[in-house]
Symmetry: C2
Subunit: 360 residues, 2 copies
């Protein structure tokens, strides 16, 4: 990738039209860029704030090629876009960040965990189960209780099952009917994430760690900074840097970590994109994760990730959004709504960031 910064006014292509694409487009606009959204969805949240929109399936290679030829840099807002779409874009000459290798690695828990361990971000013990023949060995190696996860397309708790015995494991594997990993249960004290950026010329910047609470497997609340031993937080930030360097990563990404009772940190998974646990940076940091991603992929100098307030981010899921009036009235809270038409259960409709300015 060329090391020249992309000039303001250039066009940034984004695969995906959801709220992450929307907030990326808004951040890009603040720096004078225009965005072109590629999404299968009509009337998507991101499309409504973009200069151009292509509505087509990711499988439409001709549409992807035309899109790729019209943008100066191409990125994506979620990791489950088909690899073939990114390949078609690259074949049409697009500069892509993060890279195809990053996408393929993080789409599959097997190479993802291997990469994390090799790069110096140890994960929980795990064993691959490609077919029923692997179940006995995996059960013996990992033990119970443990968690069976499909290798691909899992998110927000989908494609996961806690299993207590080999019988339950076999039943869950038959139900998923797909290659899986069996993970040891980590008796972690809390979960936190490191959201960080790396630019094409190797500059790295991490935000303060985010402490995450889930409800029904969906992120409910993030506290920043995370409350954890400084050594654990520093180790997680270092591990994130090692991983990004190993991947020659360009853009913002997030790694979720478990804080273990002994103070050790274990990497859980990596999201090759801006991350829900980094939304608080919009209101509490000099540079938001969205602006930072735009800077990184355009090879601008990274912005300062310094935090000037403590933050509590609360997701508005489904009908939570009906409370927008109360949130809009709450002093010290910043409300963000995504403009989604329907508040379906489990759907992320917006978020709120409560701020407590730092005393310096």
């Amino acid at each position: 990738m060329s090391n020249a910064p992309l000039p303001t006014g250039a066009t940034i292509g984004i695969l995906g039209g959801g709220q992450l694409g929307r907030m990326l487009a808004l951040a890009a606009a603040e720096l004078g860029f225009q965005t072109h959204i590629f999404t299968p969805e009509e009337d998507s949240p991101a499309a409504r704030v973009a200069a151009q929109v292509t509505v087509a399936p990711f499988e439409n290679a001709a549409a992807i090629s035309a899109f790729a030829r019209g943008v100066d840099i191409l990125t994506f807002e979620f990791e489950n876009i088909p690899v073939a779409a990114l390949e078609a874009a690259i074949a049409a000459g697009a500069r892509v960040a993060p890279s195809l290798q990053v996408l393929t690695t993080t789409q599959d828990r097997a190479p993802e965990k291997q990469m994390l361990n090799e790069a110096g971000a140890p994960t929980v013990r795990y064993s691959l189960i490609d077919s029923g023949a692997d179940i006995g060995a995996a059960a013996a190696q990992i033990g119970f209780p443990s968690i069976l996860k499909t290798r691909r397309l899992g998110y927000d708790g989908k494609g996961q099952a806690k299993v207590q015995s080999e019988t339950e494991l076999r039943a869950a594997f038959d139900r998923f009917n797909a290659p899986c990993v069996l993970e040891a249960m980590a008796p972690f004290e809390k979960e936190f994430s490191i959201v960080a950026a790396r630019s094409a010329n190797g500059e790295f910047a991490a935000f303060d760690a985010s402490e995450n609470e889930h409800r029904n497997h969906i992120l409910h609340r993030t506290l920043a900074p995370a409350s954890a031993p400084p050594r654990a937080l520093a180790e997680a930030a270092s591990a994130t840097k090692r991983v990004m360097e190993a991947l020659d990563y360009v853009g913002v990404g997030a790694i979720e970590f478990f804080l273990m009772p002994d103070g050790e940190v274990l990497a859980n998974e990596m999201a090759p994109r801006v991350h829900n646990s980094g939304h608080w940076t919009q209101d509490a940091c000099f540079t938001s994760q969205f602006e930072q991603h735009i800077r990184a992929i355009c090879n601008w100098p990274l912005g300062s990730p310094d935090r000037f307030a403590n933050a509590e981010m609360i997701n508005l899921i489904g009908d939570d959004v009906a409370d927008w009036k109360q949130w809009a009235s709450l002093n010290g809270a910043k409300l963000h709504l995504y403009g989604k038409r329907q508040a379906r259960p489990g759907r992320k409709m917006g978020h709120v960031v409560k701020l407590t300015p730092l005393r310096r």
Copy 2:
């Protein structure tokens, strides 16, 4: 105007497609609104971040009517749109904020000054010159040196002339060939502005005063907070509130004030819209002037105007924008670029806000 808040997801129509419309659209998007821009300009800065765009002259009443019927609230980003356009929108059923009366009053220096004085925001002495027959009386009343200004369509120093004698006054009036006001020279110490908001149910909130420095009659730099005697700043904020109440104002507006050597403040003029001198609020306040305008016109509760940093806003005019790389690298500075294609002399291309966080 109904007192019910406009629900998130509604459509906000904006007359004008420049950087103020762009930043209003970005702020509206953060609250889940979508925007429809009406502008005579192809490929305008605001259009590139809006869900819908109508490109047509303001004089096209049919286009205005169609636009007006498709939006839930209609506002404007500059004060020199033809009154007939707003009248056509109202005739088509649009809710408009600020009101038609506000627009007509602030488009003409004569009713504007009369309104300011009557509402309790005294201006410099002035005299109207509608024809050559008025020159002698005006000269006798105001004296020299003084400033002749066209009553309408003046901005950034256009339509203004400093005059030293009745001969120069007559020459300037003949050159302008339009109704004018002759203003006494105010030997002011500095100029500052109050950017404030009022919502339909009468809630009022003012940002801290902005101290303004002009170059070639164009705003060059704003410091916030303004350095002036607290009593003068408090009087200006009170006067702004009186003016907004007198006008039953809805939205964000700005009044420019002169600080006189005796500590008195004199109102100069009012802008019925978000204002360049309020751009620093984007980065230094809990609520930006753009979000505040959206909240006010949608009859949401106003956001906190509290400032958590001292700010210095520098406009990037014309070729200044070529320095974007240096600004992007400066720690503690936030860069805003408008995506304008050509950096013509005098054209506002972007701005920078340098922040110094408050010690609390």
